[in-house]
Amino acid sequence: MRKFYLIAAYVFAILSIAMTILPMGTIALLPALLTLIFSTLAFVNSTELQKFVPRIVLIIAVLTTLVILGKVVLVKDKVQNDTLFEQKKEENKKENLKDLEGL
């Protein structure tokens, strides 16, 4: 059973790292929490000598959870000021006026 918990913890840890990097928001908490659960189960079912790997995965799970929560609280949803897009819009407006004059 320890092996199963450990493999599941690995899989969800990789997934949670990927989802932490991607701007997935609170949805990234799902694999992070599953990593926490499976790494804890693997840790509990390990002998003293086997506890090193589950401990590392557990630390990863805690760190990713903290990063995700930090991003949710601190990173606000906003649109970056895009000068190229604004410039294009202005040019577009002038072009539209020319077209409208011809109507």
Binding site: I27, Q80, K88
Partner: protein, 255 residues
Amino acid sequence: MSQRMKKTNLLLLLCIVSILSYSQVVPNEKLVFTASYNMSGLMTQIAQVTMQTEIVKTTKKSFLHLSWEAATFSKWDTFFKVRDQYESYVDPVTLRPSLYKRSIFEGGYSKTEKYIYNADGSTINSSSSIKNRPEIKKSFSISGSTQDVISMIYKLRTVDYSKFKTGQTVSFIIVFDEKEYPVSVKYMGKETVSAGNLGKKECFVLSIAAKTDKLKGKDKNLIWLTADSRKVPVLVRFSIPVGTGQLALSTSSAI
């Protein structure tokens, strides 16, 4: 004040009243929505959508400029940047389009499209180009009542739904990607929903159906318009081939 001036002022006032009462769309209206995409059952906020109106004057006449912009939040820009702009220049009273423009940039894919309607609205002269490909010019016939996708959204707001019965429909014809599509809008009833800075609002719920592969499901593309004279769109739920999502009004001004 002379009799003539009084008459002119009265005429002007009547014109303004008729514009406001008919179109339900006032200039300088700004509606900002938050677009969310459904990921494994959870709505993830991905972009900001802005709908704006303004009066544009040429030497001959005035147009109501309707614009719709979508821009992904900065956190998504690295992965999938979207900068879309849809514009329609319409008659301020009838909302009949004269010029329609679409300029999209979606994760590296770009496309521009321009429709110029002839005077009687029966023909469109179009020009379109897809990234790195030459521009294609075309001329095609449309029915006189055909709207573009942007002016149709505003046209929806001119319908009086207060007398509608549940299931009653109203039809439109839109032109998109140089093709005409019949669009059917079904009145689904009333519902109170959250409407951003407007608070909770009682709304008309409308289901939009079009014979196109761009929209999926029956009664899965819904729009909530406030059940008042302004009929402000406050919530849109859509179902497209790649998933489902929603646009929720966050802020509104000059409504």
